[in-house]
């Protein structure tokens, strides 16, 4: 029983990931959208796909179990947001002021 549901999870994850990959590629390939709109579609699809992978392939969930791994992911995400966001903010600001 459990095998069945876990098997279905992987297949489900695969189909969702395929879909979430196809949409942004299609947008860029056909130039259906441009500029910020296209960027938004790419960004949202990427984010959702990361969540899909984490849920269906890595089996990360928010259920009440041993959750050290989830704490670690959330902390890593926080650090990434601070560091990458900060880097882009600071250096683009510098870039503009150098012109």
């Amino acid at each position: 029983m459990e095998k069945h549901s876990e098997h279905a999870q992987y297949v489900m994850g695969f189909i969702l990931a395929l879909l979430l990959t196809a949409i942004p590629f299609w947008v860029v390939w056909t130039e259906a959208l441009a500029g910020m709109r296209a960027a938004a579609v790419i960004g949202v699809c990427a984010f959702v796909q990361v969540v899909v992978h984490a849920h269906f392939f890595l089996h990360i969930s928010t259920s009440k179990q041993k959750r050290e791994d989830l704490e670690l992911i959330l902390f890593a995400t926080l650090i990434m947001v601070i560091l990458i966001g900060g880097t882009i903010w600071i250096l683009s600001n510098l870039h503009h002021r150098m012109h």
């Binding site: 050290e68 902390f75 890593a76 926080l78 650090i79 601070i82 560091l83 900060g86 880097t87 903010w89 600071i90 250096l91 600001n93 510098l94 002021r97 150098m98």
Partner: protein
């Protein structure tokens, strides 16, 4: 052909010969230092040979995966590197005291000195000291038998030693970078520094950085997964909390450094253009990457020292730590904020005032949790019956000096003030003022505190106090003048100066550095004298200070398996609580066999191959690099085909040792807190005797 075989190596690369070519003072210092490394190495080999220590060295130490021995090896490495770092500091102060219009050392040599001094003190003194302490103390404090990954622990030590070895080799063969410990490009790029110096820095940092990351990982997992039954996170000793947070900081803060050094290597070796002046390179990307590591690094070093102060204040005031929860909370706050302040290292880069204001405010905020901690320790000491042992003397110095250092940090956190003193000796004064009284005093206090647990005898109390006072005085005389010099406009990292008004304070600072040298000598003397009088100072029963946490609840030195039976924990200060409940040395009737990881030589293989790899990459000996890498990967892959080896200690052996220790503890009359620095102290505390009198 010769190029393929020897790369960039030539006879000219041997620093020890420079003095024979041109006998200037500069070359004498240069060749003398190289000669000292060679003589020291030969002497060490001879000592090992004469006393037949080769076999024990490998069997009991280098091949050991015991966290306690690995901890001791980290500390020994750090102590040797500390000696080099301090001597370099004194040489720099000597040069600057006579640097009006040009000092005895040439600027290139001076540049190497401040670069090695900084690199060594951060990466090969402070880090190994901290890791050594954590290695020894953390598994004992959480009631574990060893680390979660003992073999990985050995490999981490090997990688740290590799970095230190490369620094020592750079003294003998070739030169080190003159670009400072931060190694900012484009100066350290291939165009401006074509020599081997920056490459030594890159490989020392990259290889030891991998080791540090793995150490962080190992401690995080150990503390999460290997705690004794009943020890919830909020029942851990505070040192374990700081060790956990430091480990997590290491895991997340080392990658930016690895990235910075690796990209710099790509620039230098393969002509990439990350940080060059041309083709779109941007050196500020380097500064940004470096300080995303560099700032959390400061807290990686200071947090365990804060943990030490928490332990010793509770023990030597014989009180429960005041505000345990707030100390944990403050530690967590510092961990998060430490990732949000890195721009204050380059306020002058040219970004907008808004960014500077944001990072300035974040920097100011970090003072709040730090202040909370200071008040917690003072409240712990308040109304306690404090014994003025060596650790408390260091802590007293820490209180006064660290607060001054912290306040000068508050000044620097203000971007408009920072613009005035940026890159001046004011800054040098500031960071020495937080690192020496903060980190180094903490480490020295910790050495005095835990030494009897490690080796089974106390350190000499009188000499220890003398050293502590010398450190406090030496620090103050050396570094307070630097604040003044910085405000007068003296830039850091200058081999010479032209303004005569700098000279008096420079000379004061030089005399101060001599006091520091004396202090370090006294520390070494303390250890030597204590070894000589070890019978007199012996504390084999393991609890010389009336300790409160689990590491004191076993013999000294502890058996390889730490605890015959893993203790059951019901609250904070588990050992103190057990002592209040009753006889902690009561005989046990049931023992079980213990499985421990067996010795392995993989760490030694990693040490040799990575040192060869680093050396080969520095000198462009491509064939050697390939051989070394192939050996390293081969050893790991082949090793993975063999099942991990373990040894099982029979229950009888465990029982025999444990019964012997418990029996002698019960026989001992115990010492009161007043007697604990007398020869009566065998490691059994009996504070109740005070009440009986």
């Amino acid at each position: 052909m010769a190029d393929a075989l020897f790369g960039r190596l030539s006879v000219d690369s041997l620093a020890v010969l420079h003095v024979f070519e041109d006998a200037t003072i500069n070359n004498m210092v240069d060749s003398g230092a190289a000669g000292l490394v060679i003589v020291g190495s030969v002497a060490a080999i001879l000592v090992l040979k004469v006393f037949r220590l080769w076999t024990p060295l490998f069997r009991d130490w280098l091949f050991s995966v015991d966290h306690k021995r690995i901890g001791v090896m980290y500390m020994a490495l750090a102590l040797v590197m500390l000696a080099r770092g301090v001597i370099e500091g004194v040489v720099m102060r000597w040069n600057q005291s006579a640097a009006l219009g040009g000092g005895p050392l040439d600027p290139d040599h001076f540049g190497q000195l401040f670069s090695t001094h900084g690199t060594i003190m951060i990466f090969f003194v402070a880090m190994p000291f901290i890791f050594g302490l954590m290695n020894f103390v953390v598994p004992l404090q959480i009631g574990a038998r060893d680390m979660a990954f003992p073999v990985l622990n050995q490999i981490s030590l090997a990688l740290t030693a590799t970095g230190a070895a490369l620094l020592m080799i750079s003294l003998v063969v070739g030169e080190f970078t003159t670009g400072g410990w931060t190694a900012y490009p484009p100066y350290t790029g291939a165009v401006f520094s074509p020599g081997v110096g920056p490459d030594y820095w890159i490989w020392a940092i990259l290889l030891s950085g991998v080791g540090s990351t793995l150490t962080g990982l190992n401690f995080a997992v150990t503390i999460y997964k290997e705690r004794a039954p009943g020890m919830t996170l909020m029942r851990m000793p505070l040192f374990c909390w700081t060790a956990l947070v430091t480990s997590i900081l290491v895991v997340f803060a080392l990658p930016p450094l690895t990235a910075a050094a690796a990209l710099q290597a790509l620039d230098r070796y393969l002509d990439f253009h990350f940080f060059t002046n041309d083709l779109g390179g941007n050196m500020m990307v380097y500064a940004n990457l470096f300080w995303m590591f560099g700032h959390p690094e400061v807290y990686i070093l200071i947090l365990p020292a804060f943990g030490v102060y928490s332990e010793i204040s509770a023990t030597f005031a014989a009180k429960r730590l005041y505000g345990y929860e707030t100390l944990v909370g403050a530690t967590l706050c510092i961990a998060v904020i430490s990732f949000m302040v890195w721009v204050h290292h380059f306020f002058t880069m040219g970004q907008s005032a808004t960014i500077n204001a944001a990072f300035g405010i974040a920097t100011l905020l970090i003072a709040i949790p730090t202040g909370v901690k200071i008040y917690d320790w003072m409240a712990t000491l308040n109304l306690g019956r404090i014994r003025m042992t060596v650790p408390i003397v260091y802590m007293t110095g820490f209180f006064f000096l660290f607060v001054i250092g912290g306040l000068s940090g508050i000044m620097l956190a203000n971007p408009s003030i920072d613009f005035q003193v940026h890159n001046s000796l004011f800054l040098v004064g500031h960071f020495h003022n937080v690192i020496i009284p903060g980190v180094l005093f903490g480490i020295l206090a910790a050495i005095h505190y835990w030494f009897p647990k490690v080796f089974g005898f106390r350190l000499h109390e009188g000499l220890g106090k003398l050293a502590a006072v010398l450190w406090i005085v030496g620090f103050s005389v050396t570094f307070f003048p630097l604040y003044g010099l910085g405000l007068m406009g003296m830039p850091r990292r200058s081999a010479s100066f032209q303004d005569p008004s700098y000279e008096p304070l420079m000379q004061v600072a030089f005399y101060g550095s001599l006091i520091i040298l004396l202090a370090l000598t006294t520390v070494v003397l303390t250890i030597v004298v204590s070894i000589v009088y070890r019978r007199h100072l012996a504390t084999p029963l393991g609890d010389p200070w009336d300790g409160r946490t689990l590491e004191w609840w076993t013999s000294a030195p502890p058996p390889p398996w730490n605890f015959a039976v893993r203790p059951q924990v019901t609250g904070v200060d588990a050992f103190a609580a057990a002592k209040e409940r009753g006889d902690v040395y009561a005989p046990l009737d049931h023992y079980e066999p213990i499985t421990m990881p067996a010795k392995t030589s993989i760490g030694f293989v990693v040490l040799v191959t990575t040192t060869l790899l680093g050396f080969a990459m520095v000198w462009w000996l491509w064939w050697l690099a390939i051989v070394a890498l192939a050996l390293l990967v081969g050893a790991i892959v082949v090793g993975s085909f063999y099942p991990p080896t373990e040894i099982t200690i029979p229950a009888d052996d465990v029982a025999r040792e444990d019964r012997k220790w418990r029996e002698s503890a019960r026989q001992d009359r115990g010492v009161t807190r007043d007697e604990e620095i007398s020869a009566l102290n065998h490691g059994r505390a009996a504070p109740d005797m005070v009440a009986a009198e």
